[in-house]
């Protein structure tokens, strides 16, 4: 963490975008979304939905997600739960929340496991709340609505 200050600057910049202090800038910008999921086909689907309004980066594991966030903090992180480990998505969410640099980045947990499992995770004392939970399969319109609520509507490509 040599460039701690740089990161904070970027992160602060992102939160400014989110807080909507400059609506025009917010409307014009295509926010960056990081999608972490080990299912390449699902990532391709989600990617093509989101690319209609946002910049999308994809990774296939929790550690890659953390590295990618550190390298260039995105405006939103979408995490699968079960990747290499049972609760990998939750672990990543916790690391992001506990770090000063990344604690303000909104997180969506997008999981194939059912509500019972989610509820069980919620009573876990190490639980860190995400901004939103969604279950697979995901409705494209619903995903765009949720993402729009967190980082703004984005903009079509090339605008």
């Amino acid at each position: 963490m040599v460039k701690d200050d740089d990161h904070r600057e970027i992160a602060t910049g992102c939160s400014e975008v989110r807080s909507g202090s400059d609506d025009r800038k917010r409307l014009m910008k295509r926010p960056t979304i990081l999608v972490a999921d080990d299912d390449a086909v699902f990532v391709a689907s989600v990617g093509s939905i989101l690319r209609s309004r946002y910049e999308v980066r994809t990774v296939a594991s929790g550690s890659e997600a953390l590295a990618s966030v550190e390298e260039d903090p995105p405006d939103l992180v979408i995490l699968d739960v079960m990747m290499d480990h049972m609760s990998e998505g939750f672990d990543v969410a916790r690391s992001l929340r506990l770090s000063d640099v990344t604690s303000l980045i909104p997180i969506i947990i997008l999981t194939g496991v059912d509500r019972v499992y989610n509820l069980r995770m919620e009573v876990d004392e190490s639980w860190v709340p995400a901004d939103h939970y969604m279950e697979k399969p995901v409705e494209p319109a619903e995903l765009l609505r949720v993402v729009g609520g967190l980082v703004g509507p984005g903009a079509p490509e090339g605008s």
Partner: protein
């Protein structure tokens, strides 16, 4: 009585909690004795027992006092959970104090002519029901000895002789006779009670054992049920996951986020088709497992099945995929003798060995390597060893990979396809042929799977069919 077995730490012929129950019952009866003593004390002089007032009132008071102590002890100090030995001590103490009180009463109501003398017999019967017979014989002996001593002292004038009913005082002869009768009755009643109850005591032990066994098998059943429903839940999850992906892909194409005709759209369609394939693989493997686990009476058991032949066929079929993966297949079994199983279900064995050999090829390193299949035979067993030089299995997962849907992370990275059911099927097939499967692996170096099958195993289905 749920948990009766656990309720007693130790156990002779009755449970501690049973003894506790009887001791409490006996203590409740004792209040009747207190009342009886009081009545005799008051009415005794009217029928000639002039010494009963106030002596027996004092005895009644003493009995009431120690009974209170016993009831208190049984209710608050020695519960039903108490150690059997401690409760037995309480029982013996009760017997001894009762017999002492009874002998004092006998003394004041006319010694060997006393009308309360036969009550000794009640105590002996009750005691024999509660505690071990050998202890009761000892108590019977002590009681007779004490009673004889009491009568002797009365006759020798050491103790005063009080009149019995109608003021009678017995002669030496009649006193000797009643002493002899007392001895006979006391020992007789211990013997009789023991003979009558010994069968119940044996039953009690048998019942205890049966109950314990039943409870254990019930626990096993519950555990099995629990595992089954867990398995169903896991299976449903495993099916749901590719379905979620498939549904999302279709929706993306339907809603026009991707043009199905574009390169990207075609790639997504291809990926989706592969997900459908893996879904089918999972369903097929689940069906295969279910089939093996049903313990089918109609399983296609065949005689004299050659493992050499099965392995050779699989080798032929696996050759192209091995070549594609730069893997050299080394058959080490050709020159070994023939491994012939008396009984086997060939399709299941094929499925299992296919799984092992395909795994070895599939999880070889990208640069290839060798997969060696060795066959060893002795008089009773055949052993198939499949060794690869592949990615290996992390040490902490080597036991778990036999469980359904467990796949090591490095396996998932190396090969997206895989149902996580292969090794479960291998283990199931081995077990159904009376054999077992084991695994040795070092991550990054390779995995060795060993299947041992007995040559002369006769499946239960066949034995049942024969005996019928």
């Amino acid at each position: 009585m749920s948990g009766a077995g656990e309720r007693s730490g130790s156990f002779s012929f009755i449970f501690a909690w049973e003894l506790h129950e009887r001791l409490l019952w006996f203590s409740n009866l004792r209040w009747l004795a207190v009342a009886g003593l009081a009545v005799v004390s008051l009415l005794g002089p009217m029928v000639g027992m002039v010494a009963t007032r106030p002596s027996l009132m004092v005895v009644a008071g003493l009995v009431a006092t120690y009974n209170l102590v016993f009831v208190y002890a049984l209710r608050y100090r020695y519960g039903p959970e108490e150690d059997y030995g401690n409760l037995r001590t309480v029982a013996i103490l009760q017997m001894v104090t009762d017999l002492a009180a009874l002998l004092v009463t006998v003394h004041f109501t006319g010694g060997c002519a006393s009308p309360v003398l036969p009550f000794v017999v009640f105590h002996m019967a009750i005691g024999t029901i509660m505690i071990e017979t050998r202890i009761m014989y000892f108590l019977a002996f002590s009681t007779c000895f004490a009673a004889a001593g009491l009568f002797a002292c009365e006759h020798l004038g050491v103790l005063e002789r009080y009149p019995s009913v109608t003021g009678a005082q017995s002669s030496l002869a009649s006193c000797g006779l009643s002493t002899a009768m007392l001895v006979g009755l006391v020992f007789g009643i211990v013997y009789l009670t023991d003979s009558v109850t010994s069968r119940f005591k044996t039953r009690n032990i048998e019942l205890h054992q049966t109950t314990t066994e039943l409870r254990r098998s019930l626990d096993e059943r519950e555990e099995l049920e629990r595992r089954k429903s867990h398995y169903m839940r896991i299976s449903a999850h495993q099916l749901r996951s590719p379905l979620g992906t498939i549904k999302t892909s279709i929706q993306v194409l339907l809603d026009g986020y991707l043009d199905p005709g574009s390169d990207e759209g075609l790639r997504l369609l291809g990926g989706t088709a592969r997900r459908v394939d893996s879904l089918l693989d999972i369903v097929n493997d689940l069906l295969e497992l279910a089939k093996m686990r049903e313990g089918r009476v109609k399983a296609p058991w065949a005689r004299n099945v050659s493992i050499n032949q099965i392995l050779a066929d699989i080798f032929d079929a696996a050759d192209p995929s091995a070549r594609e993966a730069d893997v050299e297949l080394v058959p080490h079994f050709i020159h070994e003798g023939a491994a012939i199983l008396d009984w086997a279900v060939p399709p299941d064995l094929v499925y299992a060995f296919e799984n092992v050999i395909h795994n070895a090829i599939k999880y070889s390193k990208p640069e290839g390597g060798t997969v060696t299949v060795a066959l060893g035979i002795d008089r009773t067993h055949a052993m198939v060893v499949v060794a690869d030089e592949g990615i290996g299995i992390p040490a902490d997962l080597q036991d778990d990979v036999f469980l359904e849907f467990v796949r090591a992370p490095n396996a998932k990275h190396a090969e997206a396809e895989g149902t996580g059911l292969g090794l479960s099927i291998v283990r199931e097939a081995a077990q159904m042929h009376g054999g077992k499967v084991s695994l040795e692996s070092a991550e990054g170096l390779g995995t060795t799977v060993t299947v041992v099958l007995p040559l002369h195993y006769v499946p239960p289905e066949i034995i049942d069919g024969r005996s019928r």
